[in-house]
């Protein structure tokens, strides 16, 4: 029976992905199972329609019958609505499942299975350190009797609780009962039968073509005031004397041109990645010596670059100006660095500290090696801000605002093709207002939530007056990218519990035919984003790429691609610093090296319009 079911799983995958190269799955242990038979103790039985509906309800795809265990997953894991994420989870789950293939009835078998589970997690040297990400959906089954028996048989009963605590899902509430988990596992290993039924998308039919782009007159007038009127953070910072990193004078294009004693550029050019025919340069600022996680962001002055990871870090580029190495400040957080536009503070997320904001000037002290948020100038408690937050500061009051809503996730390594965003009717957004308090710390003073159906991956302009979102559109029930929708965050924004209409003059719709989370420049005029190459099917990371594009909100017209990355190179996570230099990372998938790159091309584009074919 098992052999038949595994075969069905592969067929299902092939059918769903329409010609996905089998090389992706040729080493799949579940496929191995088809030839070995095995004695895996987990039953993988076929499910009837009722059982499938029950699994879908438990996960949270459908409402179900009111059972208290319904909706266990989707509340937190919104990316279970993403087909590529589910693909990865299928593979991860299969690998974890395969650890039981040789059986677990003897001490030797059980010990081998535990060693196999340990090997699934690159960061673990012992099974007690295995995290849920290494187990896929099997993380929801670590409470199952088979797992308990596994540790008992291996003589490691004492370690089970820590393993379960580290690797088990869900984090809160009761775990799946054994039968529900077995059905879930069967559904996954059968490659999500009827998944299309659950994921049929009913998003709005927006942005059928790029010509559907529209920018409201109020929003455009605002952009004009911020940029040409000098009211945005770029000019405010300039007027306050914020010193831009690596700029010897007031000519922006002279930044990063410093040379070392040997006459070589301290920040080497990387113009081979530029799209042809565009003015400006690209400069390599830094090469990471370890894996980063999710996005990177830099300070308004460009001196500090923060990255997620285990641990996270902030790179201080200052010493590079004297020919030295960048200074790394380890941060006790996991991801989502972001810096305030007035160069005064930054935020990090994750780990036991939660959401923390600190004064940026504490980073200047050269003897700061590890930031544990106990430093004076850091918020004293978890500010409880949603993940993938955007952050900005009010030009008039300095009040800090954060936006956090439904999002699609990108670790920087996990995606290699342009995939449709999937946000449903339930999508929402939380806006928090944070103020400095007079003990040198930060405090949340206001929080507001609103419904944002089909809109997600929210970002915000530095002056916190423009919110940007990605629309999850659909045609014929199939999800697709519906462009970027921009909203001025005036009193109308969410005032009636819903988003303004499409024709509202304080909104815009940019039909870009794809693109990930954007960043708005400090003069509120340019919108930069990255876009993975369009692929008809899943491909290996060496066969795809991603590029940086910018859109001029003042002029309108078409987006301009700044890069033309070769296959296997991924330009990601673009974001502006105060003077208009654009920072981003480049991942070389061939060597797994990641670089921080800066370019002044966007500054050139503000001065002289260019069109691309």
């Amino acid at each position: 029976m098992k052999l038949v079911m595994i075969s069905l799983a592969l067929m299902g995958l092939a059918a769903c992905q329409e010609g996905k190269p089998t090389s992706q799955l040729k080493d799949n242990p579940a496929a191995e199972e088809t030839t070995r038979g095995g004695t895996n103790p987990f039953p993988v039985d076929s499910l009837n329609e009722t059982e499938i509906r029950t699994v879908a309800a438990r996960i949270g795809y459908v409402e179900g019958d009111g059972h208290p265990d319904n909706g266990k997953c989707i509340g937190c894991h919104q990316n279970f609505n993403n087909i590529d994420v589910l693909d990865d989870l299928y593979n991860t789950t299969s690998w974890a499942y395969s650890c039981f293939d040789s059986g677990v009835s003897t001490r030797t078998e059980a010990t081998a299975a535990i060693a196999c589970l340990t090997n699934l997690d690159n960061n673990a040297t012992d099974v007690k350190q295995v995290g849920p990400g290494a187990l896929g959906f099997m993380a929801a089954g670590v409470h199952h009797k088979i797992f308990k028996d596994l540790f008992k048989t291996a003589g490691r009963e004492a370690d089970y609780e820590q393993f379960r605590s580290n690797a088990g899902m869900p984090l809160a509430g009761t775990p799946f009962v054994d039968q529900d988990f077995e059905n879930l596992l069967a559904w996954v290993l059968n490659y999500y039968p009827s998944l299309a039924d659950f994921l049929t998308h009913d998003g709005p039919d927006l942005c059928r073509t790029r010509a559907d782009t529209q920018i409201g007159k109020d929003l455009q007038a605002y952009v004009k005031r911020m940029s040409e009127g000098g009211l945005g953070w770029e000019h405010v910072n300039m007027a306050r004397g914020v010193t831009m990193f690596a700029c010897p004078d007031t000519n922006k294009h002279n930044c990063f041109t410093q040379k070392g004693q040997n006459g070589q550029d301290l920040f080497p050019r990387a113009d081979s990645w530029k799209a042809p025919g565009l003015p400006g340069h690209m400069r390599l600022l830094h090469q990471y010596d370890e894996t980063t996680n999710y996005w990177i962001r830099s300070s308004a002055d460009g001196r500090f670059v923060g990255n997620g990871g285990q641990p996270s870090a902030i790179i201080d580029l200052q010493n590079k100006l004297s020919g030295g190495k960048a200074r790394k400040i380890t941060v006790e957080a996991l991801y989502d660095p972001a810096f305030l536009p007035d160069n005064s503070g930054f935020i990090f997320q994750g780990d036991e500290h939660g959401s923390r904001i600190c004064e940026q000037n504490i980073l200047e002290h050269e003897d700061l090696v590890t930031l544990d948020f106990m430093q004076q100038g850091c918020s004293k408690g978890d500010l409880k801000i949603g993940l993938y937050q955007a952050i900005g500061s009010n030009l008039d009051s300095g009040d800090i605002r954060t936006l956090a809503g439904y999002f699609s996730s990108d670790s920087g390594y996990s995606i290699n093709r342009d995939i449709a965003p999937l946000f449903g009717k339930a999508a929402g957004l939380t806006m928090d207002t944070i103020r400095r308090v007079n003990d040198g710390s930060f405090e949340k003073v206001n929080s507001r939530t609103m419904s944002t159906p089909y809109h997600g991956s929210w970002m915000m302009s530095p002056a916190n007056q423009i919110a940007t979102s990605i629309v999850s559109a659909s045609t014929g029930g199939k999800a697709r990218h519906g462009g970027y929708r921009l909203f001025m965050m005036n009193s109308n924004f969410g005032s009636k519990g819903k988003l303004p209409d499409l024709n509202d003059p304080s909104t815009a719709l940019l039909c870009t035919d794809g693109g990930e989370k954007p960043s708005v420049s400090f003069d509120e005029r340019m919108l930069a984003y990255y876009r993975y190459a369009r692929q008809g099917q899943r491909v290996n990371s060496l066969e795809s790429s991603s590029d940086i594009l910018v859109y001029d909100l003042l002029r309108g017209k078409e987006p301009i691609a700044l890069t033309q990355m070769p296959k296997g190179y991924y330009a990601q996570f673009p974001h502006y610093r105060s003077d208009g230099w654009l920072y981003f990372t480049v991942l070389n998938a061939w060597t797994e090296e990641r670089f921080v790159v800066a370019t002044d091309m966007s500054i050139h584009l503000e001065k002289s319009p260019i069109t691309q074919p």
Partner: protein, 459 residues
């Protein structure tokens, strides 16, 4: 994404524990000052010392009445608007006025001033740490006033737009054009700091500071000049819930009885008052309910703090002179306290009580929380537990050391009587905390800009 969800939940648990330990602080608002303000406002206006006696004067230190009369004069000197004329983009001449301290240096002004001065100085001079000459100081002063004219067009457009939108600016609008700051430095003080930048700049290494009770010599060859003054301002967003604090004897007596109390225990919610110094920055109105003023009128400084009061003629406002009442309705609701030394040994309490019984009664009540020490504390600035028992000078004696302000308040073994008694005989930065504390400190400003200067091409 699984990892992300994990940590969010852990974070939620953490905050429950932490929030229980901290009193709720008050929100403050700062919109940093910029080149627009310097273009429009007058040159920084000096602080003129108000004490005509010796820098160490028993007649001042032994008399609370003399101290308070001097303090009211200083308050008036610092906040009274000074007139100036300014030129619009289209060369119209406008006459205006802003409180004197708003013309003083902010840390952002100092940053731009010092960067310009360093940029203009020969490399040799900077490498050797040579003091800036008087001509270089004058040139940097002048640069600040016309810096905006050297900046990109959008910034000049911004000024044009401001004048378009404010054809006849009010005091509140003039006062807000350059933004706000938490700390304002009189020009004599800032010039002394920056002209001899190598002195303070070389005083510390990184985050290291001398021990609180160490005998390290002072950083400075000489004390700050007599015309030194610093204002620490507590700007509040007018949209925040405003609070007032009764400071009558009965209320203070009760407040000081509770060992765990802070000013917040007696806070009263009320509408943001109209009669309060305020500035308008863009669409925001920021009000000034409290400010510290420290002046180098005497060797150990004169410590004054002023706070807004709904009944300004009672207790700490009972002796408010006529000339203060006449400055402006916006400045007519502030009470003050003032300190010239660590201990309370003024000889004229009884005589003062004859004239102003409510004032002395309130003083006595305030001092009951920390007998023997002098007293001066601002409900809008000193927010921590027991911070209402302090006297400014006690804490400031540790400026430049590694003493933490929470330890000074709460470590009764090392810092008896909330740190109000004299424990040092030399003062590393001459009582100025902002010389060395935190990333916005003057030391950090000097260090940051000297580092930047090294990256410039050698001429």
């Amino acid at each position: 994404m699984i990892g992300k969800i994990h940590q969010m939940l852990f974070g939620l648990l953490a905050v429950i524990t932490l929030n229980a330990c901290h009193p709720k602080p008050l929100p403050t608002s700062i919109v940093e000052s910029d080149a627009l303000g310097r273009r429009v406002l007058p040159l920084t206006q000096p602080y003129y010392p108000q004490w005509e006696g010796e820098a160490v004067s028993p007649s001042l230190q032994g008399s609370m009445e003399t101290t308070r009369q001097l303090a009211w004069r200083v308050f008036a000197e610092v906040v009274t608007p000074v007139s100036f004329v300014t030129r619009t983009n289209d060369d119209r001449i406008l006459q205006a006025a802003v409180p004197r301290f708003l013309t003083w240096f902010t840390i952002e002004d100092a940053q731009r001033w010092f960067r310009y001065a360093l940029q203009q100085s020969p490399t040799d001079q900077v490498v050797q740490g040579g003091s800036l000459t008087a001509a270089q100081v004058d040139a940097a002063d002048l640069f600040l006033t016309h810096e905006l004219d050297t900046m990109p067009e959008p910034l000049r457009n911004r000024l044009r737009l401001w004048f378009d939108e404010h054809p006849e600016p009010t005091l509140e609008e003039w006062s807000g054009i350059g933004g706000t700051s938490r700390v304002y430095y009189s020009p004599d003080l800032m010039h002394a700091v920056l002209q001899n930048y190598a002195e303070l700049g070389g005083c510390f290494q990184g985050l290291q500071r001398p021990a609180a009770f160490g005998t390290d010599p002072t950083c400075l060859r000489t004390e700050w000049p007599r015309a030194s003054a610093i204002v620490k301002a507590a700007w509040w967003n007018s949209q925040s819930q405003f609070k007032s604090f009764p400071t009558d004897a009965a209320t203070l007596q009760q407040l000081m009885k509770n060992p765990e109390s802070s000013w917040m225990q007696i806070a009263q919610n009320q509408d943001t008052p109209k009669t309060i110094l305020s500035v308008r920055v863009g669409e925001q109105q920021l009000v000034l309910p409290g400010l510290h003023i420290m002046t180098k009128d005497q060797k150990d400084w004169l410590w004054i703090t002023a706070w807004w009061s709904a009944d300004p003629d009672s207790d700490f406002g009972a002796d408010r002179p006529e000339f203060v009442r006449n400055i402006s309705p916006l400045l007519g609701h502030y009470k003050i306290c003032a300190v010239t030394r660590f201990q309370d040994d003024a000889e004229d309490w009884d005589a003062l009580a004859q004239k102003y019984p409510d004032l002395v009664a309130a003083f006595r009540a305030a001092q009951s929380g920390n007998p023997g020490s002098s007293w001066c504390s601002n409900p809008y600035v000193e927010m921590g537990v027991s911070n209402q028992r302090t006297n400014c000078i006690g804490c400031h004696q540790f400026a430049g050391t590694d003493a933490r302000q929470d330890a000074i308040l709460h470590d009764a073994v090392q810092f008896p009587q909330y740190g109000t008694r004299q424990q040092r005989s030399n003062f590393i930065t001459d009582y100025v905390w902002s010389a060395a504390l935190g990333g916005q400190s003057l030391h950090q400003l000097i260090h940051r800009n000297l580092t930047w200067r090294k990256t410039l091409p050698v001429e």
